[in-house]
């Protein structure tokens, strides 16, 4: 069983976990179910967590693993992405053009290939370190970096609405 401090530490991550789950699952209900499964597994695997500072990456890793196992059963539909409605929540006083641009950025993000989208979302939206993303997605850090690079190129291309030649790879 977890002590009360650990409970707080885990609960503090629930909003971020839900956001991540929503970017993976088909709908908000599936997403919350994924979070619930994650918490269940976290409770039973608590002893496997070594570094107390890494609660977030550990929880995200469990969630992403569960998603991949579930994902083989459920056919994920690409078009549905909760962030699509980002612009709807815009502060009415904010610049309309700006709000549109922000909504565009999120729907463009939703159109990226899954691996790239997840890398960019974890870094840019969730503010994770590259090491944490490598841990969550279980790939070497070099892979994270190249996914990020491709994600940003593709996002830019999507936002420009045209096929722009990606900049040459650096030596």
């Amino acid at each position: 069983m977890l002590g009360s401090v650990s409970d707080l530490e885990i609960e503090a991550q629930i909003p971020a976990l839900r956001r991540f789950a929503r970017s993976l699952a088909r709908n908000p209900d599936d997403a919350d179910e994924l979070v619930q499964d994650t918490l269940l597994q976290a409770l039973s695997r608590w002893r496997q967590l070594r570094k107390p500072g890494s609660v977030r990456a550990w929880l995200f890793q469990i969630l992403f693993n569960l998603h991949r196992t579930h994902g083989r059963r459920r056919q994920r539909d690409l078009a549905r992405f909760d962030h699509d409605d980002g612009a709807d929540h815009a502060d009415p006083s904010s610049d309309q053009h700006q709000a549109l641009h922000l909504g565009d950025a999120l729907s463009a993000l939703a159109r990226l290939p899954q691996d790239q989208r997840i890398a960019l979302e974890l870094v840019a939206v969730q503010g994770m370190t590259y090491e944490e993303v490598a841990r969550v997605t279980e790939v070497p850090i070099g892979t994270v970096m190249s996914r990020l690079s491709r994600a940003r190129e593709r996002l830019r291309t999507e936002l420009e609405g045209s096929n722009v030649t990606p900049f040459r790879r650096l030596k």
Partner: protein
Amino acid sequence: MSRSGPIGDDDIQAFIDGRLAPDRLREVEAFLASEPALRSRIEQQRADVHALRAAAQLRPPEPIPASLRLSEVRRRRAAQTISRYRQLAAGLCLFAVGGLLGAGLVRHQPAPVAARPQMADAVVAFRAFAGRSVDMVEFPAAQVAVMRQMISRHLRQDIVVPDLSGVGLSFRGGRLLASDEGPGGMFVYAGPAGETIAVYVKTLAAARKADLNSRQDGEVTAYFWFTGGLGYAVLGPSTSPYAKRAAEQLSSRE
């Protein structure tokens, strides 16, 4: 991020995210000053990152539903555990009846495999083939495709050679083995301090499932779990943290 040498794409990514150390930042800025086209592309990508973050923050924080409260998750978990114990208890009753009926037959059977410490065969294999030298392998790392083919045929199912580079282990090779329950195999890895870590896999004579567990046997610690038809163990010197890390990564995929 701290790095030196020629500017790479990873530096550019860290630059966009504002995560370069001050020294490296100056170097990257100097480099970009001579590449105006790249510079403007990167500035746009930087703006995209800010747009993404800002857009995500526009979403009002939703209250957490009661079903996701830890107290609730824990209550459900307890309920599940109780029903599992009930099933187990029912199973034990049947077994007891069967045991009485079969007592005469069982007397002449050899001691069941389970009476030995779990994964004792894995520890023996590790000591014999991996404990002394990392290179006592049948299939060196370069032959990973052949290794996969041979072990899959040996165990009669598709076995993928685990990639543990994410936890810092480099694959050195593998071999086929006979375990005390059937065909098995072992993949050997080298850790950062030169320690040998091995992943052991065997077919199970009687299918069973069990979560990650561990057992120390002298200087060797084995982390093992069972997934139905297969038993896995990750072995390494008890002083190294890598066997545990590898086992956690592999077992969490099941």
